[in-house]
Symmetry: C2
DNA sequence: AGTGAAAAGTTTAGCCG
DNA sequence: CGGCTAAACTTTTCACT
């Protein structure tokens, strides 16, 4: 099993989180290795859960989900049951891509992907507003995406040591 | 070139956005086709820009980016230059995974991935607060992720017609 | 841990219905 | 537009260092 990542593991993770189609051969060349150790390391990283999944990122405009809303929700009641049942209900909705429970006044932040404002209105009226225990809802729409990364910032061990 | 997606295209996109490692053979079996048309359709979907990229999703806790913050920013000045230069500066920061320009009182919503509160504080002090034109900053931390999808909700044409 | 070569699996291309 | 077959490429496994 993996105890700690070395720089080669970190570089493999970084290559894959930017382009999951990078071949083991390409990685091997960049890392100055052959394909075998790269392949073995990837399998170990997958098994140990460092890599959760591989996904394709689609163009939201092309598939007609041009409207992205960040919707913040405050509940009226904050018992464990109330929080759980809200979360359970909302995560089932297909339009809700993300549901984050937050610190501060806002209880939940949802990321909603939908066709247009008309459909967002329907979503609010027919689905969200029908949930029990909703206190207040604020909708913020995305005007432009300056950055939309799925990759986390990774730091090599050598660089970390430099910083010390 | 692709004019409109048929249901087979949509199902291919949906399979890939949930698991980019699905082989053409598996898709072909699910779709009742052979690998050739699946392979051809995927290439066309890539070329037409429906599929933007393939990425690996990492486990943030395992790579020590356990703290996720949604940070909302109001600027003092809202000229085009002011907005642009803020966005340009902030998208360069590695900790900033997403930068959305929003409607409403909040100008920008940032998603920040970082090790812990201590490093978030350093990020705020040393990087974010040093930018010109910052009006106010509110930090909201993620307590738990109820849902974190990268896949958009897709609808088959048959289902759409049912809805009519 | 890594190398090199062989085996298995996957994707792509050509040709035909 | 899809099926079939062959070629190219990629990933995985094995013996060896």
């Amino acid at each position: 099993m993996i105890t700690e990542l070395d720089d080669i593991d970190i570089r493999i993770l970084d290559l894959l989180q930017h382009d999951a189609r990078t071949t083991t051969k390409e990685m091997a060349d960049k890392l100055g290795l052959t394909v075998t150790p790269v392949s073995v390391r990837i399998r170990k990283l997958e098994e140990a859960g460092y890599i959760k999944r591989y996904v394709a990122i689609l163009d939201k405009d092309k598939i007609e989900k041009s409207l992205i809303a960040f919707t913040s929700i405050q509940l009226r009641e904050h018992s464990q049951d109330a929080l759980r049942s809200f979360e359970k209900a909302v995560t089932k909705m297909r339009e809700v891509m993300e549901c984050h429970r937050l610190t501060g006044r806002t209880d939940f932040l949802l990321k909603i992907a939908i066709r247009d404002m008309n459909e967002y209105n329907n979503f609010l009226m027919d689905k969200l507003a029908k949930l029990a225990n909703i206190g207040s809802v604020q909708s913020h729409f995305v005007l432009s995406e300056g950055k939309a990364e799925t990759a986390y910032p990774l730091t090599l061990n050598i660089q970390k040591e430099k910083g010390k």
